[in-house]
């Protein structure tokens, strides 16, 4: 990949040095592959060794990176949990359709069944005048008063809930408008602005956390890049001598790229540990709160898939930081 640009005109016998090089002697493929593999294993060990030669500064770098990674990841986990919580609330968002007096039970039930087939509608229920009265009498303190009235003042109602997957302010609005066109409906009751508020707040939090994640990802790249730059500076002599004996830039860059990879992956692991420690602390207190409110709510962690993605992503960021630093600084180091 470092040598995709191939040779230009001229140069009759010299081919550009490949990743592994060695044109004159180790020519056959399996030999090359074997020593290439050996070299990568060696280089990986060497990179690990380099990290451990300066244990304190490596550890500090790892912790800085881990915090930079744990912060947005923690926010994302918190948002996911918050959304589940508000999702439970949203589930109970209902539109109540108060029907005209002249609509009888059969028509009411038919209407409820029809609305249920609309797109975006979850469940519907028909509540007759009698049912409404019974429920009103049992829940309110005005049972006596109502039963003394000459006529049942409560209308029949069709309630509908909006299915969870289509619960956005706009589909809710659409459904509301559609119900208002129905002849048998006298009045529609639904507080849309509340849903809008909740959604705009969660959208804002989403954007803020995304922005923060991007910034901190750039931070990870820069911190790793700077660490690699320092490491390159401390190995100037070795790099120059390696160039003198025919080492390619790719060969010299390799241990630094591995170092970046290790920084990224290592800090992701520490970040995951920090997160699960935080989860452990929060879980017990949340269980107390949930218990007090009779809720089933439980805190969800990052999950296996997301953890692995985080690990790979951070390793990639570390690699990128190392690549940027080494592309710039190794090329500039030439034997004089």
């Amino acid at each position: 990949m470092f040598h995709s640009r191939n040779k230009k005109k001229g140069s009759p016998t010299l081919k550009p040095v490949r990743q592994l090089g060695a044109s004159s002697h180790p020519n056959n493929f399996s030999y090359r592959f074997y020593s290439w593999k050996e070299n990568h294993i060696l280089v990986a060990k060497e990179s690990l060794h380099r990290l451990t030669t300066t244990p304190f500064s490596s550890l500090v770098t790892l912790l800085v990176l881990a915090i930079a990674i744990a912060l947005p990841t923690g926010f994302n986990v918190a948002i996911a949990n918050l959304e589940r919580l508000t999702g439970d609330v949203n589930d109970s968002v209902q539109i109540s359709l108060y029907l005209h007096d002249h609509i009888d039970d059969a028509e009411g039930r038919k209407l409820a069944a029809e609305i249920k087939t609309w797109e975006g509608v979850g469940t519907t229920e028909y509540i007759s005048q009698e049912q409404a009265l019974v429920s009103f009498q049992s829940t309110s303190g005005f049972g006596e008063v109502i039963s003394n009235l000459p006529k049942n003042p409560l209308p029949a109602v069709v309630t509908l809930t909006i299915s969870k997957q289509s619960l956005t302010a706009s589909t809710a609005k659409e459904i509301e408008l559609r119900t208002k066109e129905l002849n048998s409906v006298a009045q529609v009751k639904f507080d849309l602005s509340w849903l809008k508020k909740v959604q705009s707040v969660t959208n804002f939090i989403h954007q803020a956390v995304t922005g923060l994640s991007v910034l901190l990802a750039i931070g990870v790249v820069l911190v790793v890049g700077n660490t690699i730059k320092l490491s390159i500076d401390s190995r100037k002599e070795e790099i120059v001598v390696t160039k003198l004996v025919g080492g390619t830039n790719a060969f010299i860059r390799r241990p630094f790229l591995y170092m970046g990879l290790l920084f990224g992956a290592g800090s992701a692991i520490i970040a995951l540990l920090l997160l699960s420690m935080g989860m452990l602390v929060l879980t017990s207190s949340i269980a107390d709160i949930s218990g007090a409110y009779g809720s089933q709510f439980k805190l969800n962690g990052l999950g296996v898939i997301n953890s692995i993605s985080l690990l790979i992503g951070c390793a990639g960021l570390g690699w990128l930081g190392a690549w940027l630093a080494s592309a710039q600084h190794i090329r500039a180091l030439e034997p004089r």
Binding site: K8, H25, G246
Partner: protein, 267 residues
Amino acid sequence: MIRFEHVTKRYATGQEALSDVSFALDAGKMTFLTGHSGAGKSTLLKLIMLMERATKGTVWIDNLDLAKLSHRQIPMLRRKIGVVYQNHQLLFDRSVYHNVALPLVVSGFHPRDVGRRVRAALDKVGLLSKEKQNPQSLSGGEQQRVGIARAVVNKPPFLLADEPTGNLDPALSAEIMELFKEFNNVGVTVLVATHDLALIARMPHRSLILRDGLLINNTAKFSNPAKFIDNDQGLPNRTEDTPIQNPSGSPTHSTIENKKHSASTNQ
């Protein structure tokens, strides 16, 4: 074969380190490059290694025009050329073994072959017993021999040395020169830059003599370079020098012209 055709090197500072230098070294020959300090010896070697590029003229290694080599082809060139430095350029953060192994590792040799070749090279310079030591713990002469082992470990066809005996006493210097002769005996083309004229005088090899960037002697059998260097009074100044370093009808010069001609007809 190493060939310079009207090569001029001017540094960014404006300093002209080499002026219109032409010569050819045949494969398998050993040659000395001499001249006062600042004459341009190191510059000449750096042009061969592509540590610097010629301002004018052409440097050929075998049939390669170095001006045409791209940046990423330079490592391939350097693997064909072993170099020994006065300050030996050894790494003190690793053992003698790993210093010598470096050219093999960068070329992608199998670890098994690396061990065999490193020991063969160390054996050749008489340091097999010191492979595990840090080069810092060795004497100056031993360090230079480690440098030589590293230069020859991947059996390059060319061996360059820049003042390899600069820091050594006469006996050690003679030993080092003996080593170069041995490598030359097995077919390696050797070019040694040195101002140690006493050493050169004892050896029957051709010398190239530089003075202020000019090649003032280009004959195959020059016996006493000291005549040109030791006595500044005896030296003609640069303008008077011109007919000597640029003899219009000199055989060497016409040889180069012929070769250049045949090279261009080949293309």
